[in-house]
Subunit: 316 residues, 2 copies
């Protein structure tokens, strides 16, 4: 039981997430189990944000609170609400940086969830979404909520609109699970967005809309075959695949090992694969890791549901 | 009860349909009540198709069976199956030509449903879809199944793929109904396709995918507010609106009269509007007809469910 009246310090955990999910560029995402970032926020006397420590990051992250993904939303919160107190922030990264696993979203969400617990009244969900988006925008150069939404709500989510926030939970067929494979390289989100053409060919637009529609219908009807037929990205993946050495081989290995679908997690370089109950996730992930090895990339793998918990307060 | 063994003649009714449905260009469609085409097919001795009569058409339709939308699929059927008999065909048009109400799809579907009843074994549904598509392609210059699918299956449908056919029924929230207004002018489907750009801007692509996903989710959860927020076409409608005099005024009138959504039916010029149970369809359609009158266009209106019956055999 966490008592939230007069709280001076709170710690929140926010899960890693897979954005885009092949057919929902910038709008679909799902939360992973276990892996995530933690942020501890302590009330301070002056209305400002200070970053006390950043742990677990293997590259230097911005120490200016208005430029750090975890704290940019808090800076805005203090200004918007004219708070007479501030926040001291400690960030514990559990998600590899530049992995495409929603690390910036997780830091932003964990910070706002923790800070919200220190307010007289907790922020309503749409406000938490909006402040977390500010942090995400600092990281990627553009606000997009496909990682923020599942991080805040858990499970699989659709962001129909960011302003005003319109986020819809999509039911996850219970027998579907996920393998996530993270090769030891980094892709900056800005780079990954920079390779995208400004336009989509009409035929690809039609195919992708039919795939996202089939995917959503498959989730609501628990139709795994329909989901498998629909989970194909004909728009974004072909433009980004070249950024990930071995992409084609890893995806091929995933399908050969029985994956329902396999595509880039967020901006990459991680790949996710969905699979049914007849597939051993250890065999699936081993096949994908092995394929990365053929291009001399080491890779880590996680097995997870596609129904990870929402960000939540935890004991420090 | 219709006995289909040794049948020498069959008549099928196929409903008018609304294609595109704002957010599903070339993939979504729904069937209307009551209005539709009828086609009567009689077995003939020689393996060829003859058009005996075309009734109810106010412009000349092709009399060459391989160029007529109702019969082109039958010509192919005879060739594919090496039939030793043929079909004499009478077409009774009930759907105004060039209205955007799926008239060519209805003729093609009615013909194949009637002809199928004359075969030793009726054609399976995917084959009926494929042969009806051949007729539709003759009419519009390109095969697309958004009218064929609801015409064959009834209700609201998604065509995820045409080849192989992958058609999904989408549940229709029972309290939603439709008004369809047909101004007295014609737009050729080829013209209406010709104005479309070859590419879609990425931002519009993202918005439209989020709208179709929200629309499908809203249909499955019977969430009328979500459907209303989602039923917005930011890709196709802006490119075609200028083909329909008074479009902006009619759409504005529909929203002012309480429509959940209002957009172009298929290739136009008809407009459809969805509405909830709190709206009087007579008032809604009157508002739309009145708006067309401001640009000196007479218009007819229909009130319908969005859950019209599938094409079916009828008494002559």
């Amino acid at each position: 039981m966490i008592i939230d009246i007069g709280l001076n310090q709170a710690t929140a955990f926010a899960p890693a997430t897979v954005g885009n999910v092949a057919v929902g560029f910038d709008i679909l995402g799902f939360a992973l189990d276990h892996i995530g970032d933690r942020v501890t926020v302590t009330r301070s006397a002056r209305p400002e944000v200070r970053i006390l420590a950043i742990n677990g990051a293997d590259v230097a992250l911005p120490e200016d609170p208005s430029k750090n993904t975890a704290t940019a939303g808090l800076v805005r919160l203090i200004a918007d609400r004219k708070l007479d107190f501030g926040f001291d922030v400690t960030i514990d990264k559990g998600i590899p940086l530049g992995s495409g696993m929603g690390g910036s979203a997780a830091s932003a969400v964990a910070a706002i969830v923790a800070a919200s617990a220190l307010l007289e009244e907790r922020l309503p969900l749409p406000d938490r979404f909006t402040y977390a988006l500010i942090g995400e925008a600092v990281a990627s150069g553009a606000a997009h909520g496909d990682n923020i939404a599942p991080c805040l709500l858990g499970g699989l989510t659709l962001v129909r609109s960011m302003d005003p926030p319109d986020v819809i939970r999509i039911p996850v067929p219970p027998a579907i699970n996920c393998v996530l494979v993270h090769p030891h390289m980094r892709i900056d989100t800005r780079t990954s967005r920079g390779v995208l053409a400004a336009h989509v060919e009409r035929a690809a637009f039609i195919e992708q809309t039919s795939n996202i529609a089939g995917f959503i219908a498959g989730c609501f009807t628990d139709d795994r075959d329909l989901i498998a037929r629909s989970l194909r990205d004909v728009v974004i993946e072909p433009q980004r695949a070249h950024l990930i050495p071995g992409f084609a081989a890893v995806q091929k290995a995933a399908f050969a090992a029985g994956a329902m679908g396999c595509s880039i997690s967020g901006a990459g370089p991680s790949l996710f694969a969905w699979h049914g109950p007849d597939i051993d996730p250890a065999e699936l992930s081993a096949a994908m890791v092995k394929a990365f090895a053929t291009v001399e990339l080491k890779a880590d793998a996680w097995h997870s549901s596609v129904n990870g918990l929402a960000a939540h307060l935890v004991e420090r």
